[in-house]
Symmetry: D2
Subunit: 347 residues, 4 copies
């Protein structure tokens, strides 16, 4: 941390900052230039808000944080890439892992036929919402516990692992009973108490990026889970909110390489929420894998025309089956592996 | 709702849309232009996601929603401006109401001296965080229940009403025991289950706007509270996230007149979080009142240099005392009232 | 400028940076902490892109610019507030100056009746576009030179000063012949050659903020004019582009106090373009003045229903006449002056 | 175009809108629902601002534009994909075309060695700025005409086509003398007079997307060129401005498939400006091609440490040579072709 004093800062002003720094148990290293004095803070750990504390002092122009605020999610702390085993799938390894399924679990038939279809096409994990966050209180909010049971039945039938969203601490126990991976949605990405509670539950957590979340904030949100001794966090970029309206959100595809440079956690891309429109799901899925994503999360529905939510961004079974070999080709082109349906059938 | 078909849409495609509309129990009114067919939906209530449902049909170019999605928060439903009485303060009336106090409750002395100071300057409600949402898990998170007790002691001492944030359903009971108004923070503004639970608790709720929340989404979030038969919601604009970095957030001051045109709910402005920097708190407070805000929420701290959070945006007692008469002048200039310290002393 | 090296930076890496700094004719001051080496750059003037140059070196983590890039627009260079006299109006003084008029000059009658009406209500400067930037090439683009002549006739008739936009260097001469103030529109705010050419023309320049322009970039754009020995630049905040769609743009009202803290140049607000909707023009005008704006620019049209552009955000004569006394009240409330129609009549 | 009246709109209000529509030479088709009257406009061409004109009428709630504003850039007008031949390169065909070279032309040696290196790695077109737009007037602005001569010499030497930016109408003649393709930079993307003038010059034009440009505005800007009977426009996505700061801009990779759905014009991606940081250039280049881009524009410099501009985002020769085969692999994976260095040597 460096405190940059204003050009005309007085000796007293500099002294006050130094005194406060010492009060906090840190050392202060002065560097007097021709124009300005710069104070370097020495000692660790720095209190996380020490920059805010010092910015308010008279004569201070800026406080510059040199180190990043996140710890457990960074490479310094954990120099190996995080690999998460869920049933017989490894997330974060060489293989690009595809999660697919309907936005909402609507019925047993809808879910099980979808599970079979996405498995046949090469997906490894089934998604489906039992508890749905909806912008309006008047929309369909999911089947709740019955939805969880249906997901479990689909797992039983197909062998696919399952992932589903949890929205509030009170539901963690029920979701834990059924799910393989907890999903935290974009709107709850800074619901810190939920993050801590889900961290304690001891299963992998997929953390979607918030609509206006800085990448550093995303890692700090992940730390809420990690700091509960739960090392298994998956990051999922699903588009940020910008001025552009041709797509539902703006996929920040650069988040993939940036997060992989900053963190050891696996990074997924959700092209369905990012685009919000079926014709763009495929191109964004391919872009995500080309940029280095460890996996994808794609909405698939047996009959998008009759979906209770997100029909507009859900692929049909045929569209998904046609997309998967293209994803596998791009995965291979960037040095990753992905089993296609044909290869699987051959096994 | 209007469904606009593509220029080359076939009779079958048009028929499929009409069939689906009828399946939903609605009427369909066709209007055939030279180039396109347009289908008007007739009947109420429209399912909230009917636009999403129809957009996926082949041959559909766009679905245009004509009516707004919110109901209880709109003037149609409630043609009188909402006025909320909290102890002896009326929010949403002619008077501009100022809420002031520290970001966090840090100690009894800090809170009570602040309460006295802001009351003397004309504030009517005391703010202070007992449970603090923090971007990083390593930051100060508030005193919890002890913080609530301190706030109550400050109310006892000064007669000011109090407002404090609740972050998770499990804390609602404790907060309810002490607070006069629940505050829902920006990061929880789409934490729908929290909104419903706090709605059930039966005290007024101040709902801060999320960092990237559309105004329509804000009203829909308010509906989660209102639909629990809790009519007392206060909206608070606190800055949105944009590309600009000279201020912490960008105060969307237009939200004040827009929300007042769309809704009967009182609208406040929080110039402290919007600017994040002390020199701009005053100008933004004045701008908010000039734009028609029903009140302000301002951070004040006895010694911002030693604040545990947000010191950089907190006013000192002197700064706050100097600002209040300026706020009162602007309030008067736009036809509102606000008691200043002097007038109060005279009472 | 401070170069922060990575924790594991080698002696050679540090040496390479120091060598490059010396190659640039600057001094390098090393400060070795426990974890990192920090290199301070000494000497002036720093090349403006020295940060970019050094960021690419191996072992460099960050380069932190301490001083702002702008010079002529800052208080250091020019410690008095800039006051610009245009005919008998002073911009940047105690008085809040209102510029008003139609978006486009459409006819002599439309312009002259508007000029009379806005003058009667207290406006001091007449606006009107003769050359119009339009998003689509198929829209009305203004009357050109004929429009300039009409503006001059309106000035002749009413004594109001005039302001009009110039879009390309080739038009500067013609516009210069007629106008009192050049306006540079938001879309040309980083058209640097136009800025330089208009700077050379030797009349005041109003520089609108670009739709996604950082405040620092805005001042740097102003420097293109100022560096041509033209000290008379007026900044005009007209809304930035964000995700919100209830208003045409988002008025960044904080730009007013921030620019006034960073710069001595007068700052105006354009509530018409910021809101894009007539009912919000008034509240945003009042907010701008309350935040400290030196003036306003407001669109007024004799018959907005028939305006060739921007009718939706133009006030009628009556609406403008009703707004002006409210602006004057807020101006007074924040310690400024503004002549109202009544007072003027009394003179 | 559809005019939606408010629920309580009077007969007179409806009549006034209908009268105005007829005044404009259009037909009006009324559709009376239970709650509202909707007026459909019939006849072509609609004046481009007719929506703005009608929105201001009393009793009007919304005006909904059904057709897109752009024409020449859309598929309706031009049902074949635009292919542009520049020397012996075809842009917009099956082959992914890579443009590479330094940000600025700094010297003959720098430019010619770069041209040789990028050609050897498989690039088909050489980029280099002779006229540079710089945020600050104190930065290096390019060699001007001398820069153009150097580019021409590099073309002579290597056979590569060249592309360079033009910033103002006065420079078009000089740039036209040398360049194969005009580049319009992001900051000039709505400099409409420049677009028209460059359209008249009769060579292909690459139009970069503005920092906060809606996709529809981008196509409308292209129409300024196309409407001068110049069919050869290339769109280039180079990142938009958002709140995120880990990258210089946010690559909106979805712009690739969206623009290809809306328009027949070739779409390129510039991963250098989008990321602003060397380690992310490669992943974003691959993402762009995977999403369907017709080509890439990449900054390459013999010694980024000493580049006069954009060194931080320029690849070295080795980095570029290593990236090209990876781009070719992804191109193949999505059904495109791209000659790699090896294959070229084999020819």
């Amino acid at each position: 941390m460096i405190v940059v004093m204003e050009p005309g800062a007085t000796k007293d002003q500099i002294g006050a900052v130094v005194a406060r720094v010492k009060e906090l148990g840190l050392g202060a290293h002065l560097s007097q230039g021709e124009e300005r004095t710069i104070i370097g803070l020495v000692g660790t750990p720095l209190p996380p808000t020490v920059d805010e504390m010092l910015e308010v002092y008279a004569g201070v122009e800026r406080v510059v944080r040199i180190t990043k605020k996140f710890k457990l999610s960074g490479w310094d702390f954990h120099p190996q890439k995080t690999m998460i085993r869920v049933r017989d799938v490894v997330i974060g390894g060489e293989e690009v892992v595809v999660i697919a399924g309907p936005c909402s679990v609507e019925s047993e038939e809808q879910t099980i036929t979808t599970a079979r279809a996405v498995k046949a096409a090469g997906a490894k994990i089934l998604r489906g919402g039992a508890y749905k966050p909806r912008t309006s209180p008047y929309e369909f909010r999911g089947l709740g516990r019955r939805g969880l049971e249906i997901l479990a039945a689909a797992r039983e039938e197909t062998g696919l692992a399952i992932i589903t969203e949890v929205m509030t601490p009170a539901d963690i126990e029920a979701v834990h009973e059924f799910t393989d991976i907890f999903q935290i949605g974009a709107r709850n990405s800074q619901n810190y108490l939920l993050l801590e509670e889900v961290g304690k539950a001891g299963k992998p957590v997929m953390l979607k990026r918030g609509l206006s979340m800085l990448m550093e904030e995303w890692l700090l949100a992940a730390e809420y889970v990690l700091s509960q001794n739960n090392p298994d966090v998956i990051l999922c970029e699903r588009g940020i909110r910008t001025f552009e309206k041709e797509t539902r959100n703006t996929l920040d595809v650069a988040a993939v390489p940036v997060m992989q440079k900053l963190s050891h956690l696996p990074v997924f891309v959700d092209p369905s929420h990012a685009s919000g429109k079926r014709p763009y799901v495929g191109p964004l899925a391919l872009a995500g894998v080309a940029a280095g994503a460890d996996g994808l999360m794609i909405e698939v529905h047996p009959s998008p025309d009759h979906a209770l939510s997100d029909g507009n961004q859900s692929l049909t079974f045929d569209e998904f089956a046609a997309l998967m070999p293209r994803i596998a080709s791009v995965a291979q082109a960037v040095g990753r592996t992905m089993a296609t349906a044909g290869e699987m059938a051959a096994v």
